[in-house]
């Protein structure tokens, strides 16, 4: 898609627009050819107003060579486009004050004011609540009605089926087939992975035992000393999966980091199997029998330049059989690495390959393999399948459930509602640093979605209007890394 928008140059092949071949030297060529793009990570200057962001690069100026900006005209243009497609965007609002859903509409306005005929939306729903996603689909329908073409990139099968007229499946940089929106989910998933995939995890009913993790009145600040977790109470029992749902940035990250000893606990307690662990170092927490899959594997989970084998012993390299005194035991490390590569189906050229060269799914499997190789009381997995292909998701999910069935307390934090619903025995929804509700996995998606938006059931009973096409849980597809 970045090639289509002129950001990357193609090595081979050509792009045809209206039947004519097109050479794109940069994004401005793409815009001139009527191609607009809404990037997965928004391309908005946070300190600028909506109007400034929209006019950037295509400024209307007056006053000759001085190039004085014609702000009034830019504001009017934003207002017009916003009006025409019912986008409800205020031209004078500053981007960083706007919620994500609105920021995305600013991106759409930006493309529309440039008179594009083709709009590329790259994973637009990854950062949205279910309600915002619904609104986006409505906007897309009105754009379609206005004669615009849309390329909608997503790995969420439910959304594809809800909006698409035609579906093209891409796997590892190749088109592997097309499908109609009436195709079943299983059919689509199979095309995406290249074999048939089980989309829902089969799990026997949980048999919860004694409480393992107890969090009470937890208060934590984020990096900017702003309250992120504001009095959270949670219990995870042995042999159950507690899912933590919520839109990104509602304190989930800080909650886990506080449990893991990565972030100071300002108030409240964290108890592991009856023993208070707040204030402990991360190492001590890990040694106490906690497995941890951090949410961003490229930052926290792996040392990318290290080999697969080395990454597999990052937690226990200093203990027998891998280390003794000051020295490491390379043979023991290599042998155990080989076993675990097979056990966890890590696709790597060798145990000595740098972990950074593996695909996202296989990197994640390395982390999961490392964490699950210790005897655990508690397993915390944050965004365990972000940017991971469908095949690996299937595998990771099955390992999570197996861990639960072996009597470990499991906590899965994910911004993918489908994943939470799929895995969890109970779901805690976080909103603005608090657990706003704890519900069962059979709760309708809409209700959980409303909780994620901060609307509690009492207030929600009137508001919840079930949307049929989004009612069933949909699994994830290949992550963006495999598609780019």
């Amino acid at each position: 898609m970045n090639v289509l928008y002129g950001l990357y140059q193609p090595d081979e092949g050509e792009i045809l627009v209206d039947g004519k071949p097109l050479k794109l030297r940069g994004p401005s060529d793409a815009i001139a050819a009527g191609i607009g793009m809404v990037h997965q990570h928004f391309m908005l200057v946070p300190v600028f107003t909506v109007a400034e962001n929209v006019m950037l690069g295509a400024e209307q100026v007056k006053g000759g060579i001085a190039g004085i900006l014609d702000r009034r005209r830019a504001r009017r243009e934003v207002a017009e486009v916003s009006e025409r497609y019912n986008l409800r965007v205020d031209p004078d609002a500053v981007i960083e004050d706007l919620p994500v859903g609105i920021q995305q509409r600013v991106e759409i306005v930006k493309a529309l004011t440039r008179d594009v005929d083709l709009l590329i939306l790259d994973e637009p729903t990854a950062v949205l609540t279910p309600q915002e996603t619904e609104e986006l689909l409505t906007v897309m329908r009105s754009l379609k009605a206005a004669g615009k073409s849309i390329v909608f990139i997503t790995h969420k099968l439910g959304e594809v089926k809800a909006i698409a007229d035609r579906i093209t499946v891409i796997r590892r940089g190749k088109t592997v087939g097309t499908a109609s929106p009436t195709a079943s989910r299983d059919e689509l998933a199979a095309k995406m992975v290249g074999r048939s995939v089980r989309l829902t995890v089969e799990k026997p009913p949980a048999t919860p035992g004694r409480p393992i993790l107890e969090v009470a009145g937890l208060v934590v600040d984020d990096d900017r000393q702003i309250r992120a977790v504001d009095g959270v109470d949670l219990t995870v029992r042995a042999g159950e999966v507690l899912g933590v749902a919520g839109v990104q940035g509602n304190g989930q990250t800080e909650l886990i980091e506080a449990i893991m000893g990565l972030r100071p606990v300002l108030a409240g307690t964290v108890t592991l199997d009856g023993q208070p662990v707040h204030g402990w170092s991360t190492k001590k927490v890990l040694r106490a029998g906690v497995g941890y899959v951090p949410e961003d594997r490229s930052v926290d989970g792996l040392v990318k330049e290290f080999s697969v084998a080395e990454n597999l012993v990052l937690d226990i390299y200093d203990r027998p059989p891998f280390g003794k005194g000051l020295s490491l035991k390379p043979d023991a490390i290599a042998k155990s690495a080989q076993e675990r590569i097979e056990q966890f189906d890590v696709r790597t050229p060798s145990a000595d390959a740098a972990v950074g060269t593996l695909s996202g799914g296989n990197q994640q499997k390395v982390i999961v393999a490392r964490e699950l190789s210790r005897p655990l009381k508690l397993f915390i997995a944050a965004q365990p399948t972000r940017g991971v292909d469908v095949g690996s998701i299937e595998f990771i999910h099955s390992r999570v459930i197996r861990e639960r069935d072996e009597g470990t307390a499991v906590m899965v934090v994910s911004s993918e509602l489908d994943e939470v619903i799929n895995l969890a025995d109970r779901i805690a929804v976080m909103y603005r640093g608090r657990v706003i509700g704890i519900v069962g996995p059979d709760t309708p998606r809409e209700e959980i979605g409303l909780l994620m938006a901060g609307i509690t059931p009492d207030a929600a009973t009137e508001a919840a209007a079930p949307a049929a096409d989004a009612a069933t849980p949909a699994p994830e597809g290949p992550g963006s890394e495999d598609e780019a």
Binding site: H41, L56, G57, L69, P99, V100, Q225, Q248, R432, G433
Partner: protein
């Protein structure tokens, strides 16, 4: 790609309690005011403290009894602090803080001037204002160079080197050609030369910009020092006797009391500096170039996806910064002094502080530069009237002011988000 637009949906505002930032500053101001009233009041004599509106002792003057003045202004400062503590509307904050600080300085001056020996117990405001601007001038140019660079996302620690190179080439080529204008152009090119190195290494080769800036400063000291010893010291007549811009009097404006004689009978550099502040301010916030510059400094990827040429714009801005700083360097050698080794003496770094203190805005940088210039001028003045404060402490004044300003009063300044981060496409 690191600056994603993912806002924190869940930021609960921190309750600061009673001791907000405003209250803390108010408390400090209150304490300072009380201290001034008591201490300066006690130290001041019962002579008159005269602030004359001219360059000499004579003429119209503002007069106040030394002890009374010191106590009165101390009380005013304390009152401003108390008002801040009592909780006033936000828009009053700057005004009250300004009033408080000015009153504190006036209280201090009442003591110093009244305690000065007979015949020197007056303060000629024209000289003070003029001196403030002259001492602030290299800071103004330097800070503007910083604005141009850093707003587009390139950290400019090389201001010192750019000023020095400008001063040197202005002196050298001014002397050789015998023309101030040739000197001025050469100074601009000299500054741009340092900038070019910064741009190429920072933008093309992704060298750490702060390290690069420091290296360039050392390079400028080295080159100019070597050539100074080889050429200028041996044959000052030929190489280090640049002509100087004469003072231009501006009709009408020169007749304004105090400001007229202080500012509008000055040389081209002061006019140019003030004009540049205005022009760059308007350009930065009102024009296409400014919008693109700020976008590239905040979120270069976003600008790139809209067809803005990120690297080209950065090159241009960094070079322009060199031109501005080069001219600033020439404000020494083509107006005031002949070139001496390392003559900028750290002003480039104070300019950097002025840039930060002025929150990366041209007008803010001007005010910050004037603040530092005033501290500098005050030190000189107090030395001249034989102040009881040791001269070493007076010489520390501008640096002390720099430290306090940058560390304390600024609060939350925010640099352009992509400042110092090289842009790598894709």
């Amino acid at each position: 790609m690191s600056t994603m637009a993912v806002p924190d949906v869940a930021v609960a505002q921190v309750d600061e309690g009673f001791w907000t930032r405003t209250r803390k500053i108010g408390a400090v101001l209150l304490a300072l005011g009380v201290l001034a009233a008591v201490l300066f009041g006690a130290l001041a004599t019962d002579q008159q403290a005269r602030f004359t509106l001219s360059e000499t002792e004579g003429g119209a003057a503002l007069e106040i009894h030394g002890t009374v003045g010191a106590i009165l202004f101390g009380v005013i400062a304390a009152a401003a602090g108390a008002a801040l503590m009592a909780g006033v509307p936000k828009r009053w904050f700057t005004v009250l803080l300004g009033v408080g600080l000015v009153a504190f300085v006036l209280s201090f001056l009442c003591w110093q001037v009244s305690a000065a020996p007979e015949g020197r117990n007056f303060m000629p405001l024209v000289n003070i204002v003029r001196g403030t601007f002259i001492l602030a001038l290299p800071l103004i140019f330097g800070a503007l160079a910083g604005v141009l660079c850093e707003r587009s996302g390139v950290v400019n620690v090389a201001i010192e080197g750019q000023l020095l190179m400008g001063a040197f080439s202005g002196a050298l080529f001014g002397s050789l050609s015998g023309s101030v204008w040739v000197g001025l152009v050469a100074a601009a090119i000299g500054g741009a030369f340092i900038s070019l190195l910064l741009a190429v290494f920072a933008i093309r080769y992704l060298v750490d910009q702060v390290v690069m800036g420091i290296v360039l400063n050392l390079l400028a000291v080295g080159i100019t020092g070597f050539l100074y010893e080889r050429l200028m010291q041996t044959n000052a007549e030929k190489y280090n006797s640049a002509p100087r811009f004469s003072n231009w009097e501006i009709p009408l404006l020169r007749d304004i009391p105090v400001l007229g004689p202080a500012l509008f009978r000055s040389n081209i550099f002061l006019y140019l500096g003030l004009l540049l502040v205005l022009v760059i301010h308007i350009a930065l916030f009102r024009t296409r170039w400014g919008l693109r510059t700020r976008a590239v400094g905040e979120h270069p990827t976003a600008a790139d996806t809209l067809g803005v040429k990120v690297l080209g714009l950065r090159y241009r801005n960094v070079l322009l910064a060199g031109v501005v700083a080069g001219i600033g360097g020439a404000s020494y050698t083509l107006a005031l002094y002949s070139f001496t080794k390392n003559m900028i003496g750290g002003k480039g770094f104070i300019a950097l502080a002025a840039l930060i203190f002025g929150r990366w805005s041209p007008t803010g940088a001007l005010l910050a530069a004037l603040f530092f210039g005033f501290a500098d001028q005050l030190g000189t003045y107090l030395g001249a009237i034989g102040s009881s404060i040791p001269s070493q402490f007076l010489a520390m004044l501008p640096y002390l002011a720099t430290m306090l300003a940058v560390a304390g009063l600024v609060g939350k300044v925010r640099a352009p988000a992509a400042d110092g981060k090289p842009y790598i496409k894709g």
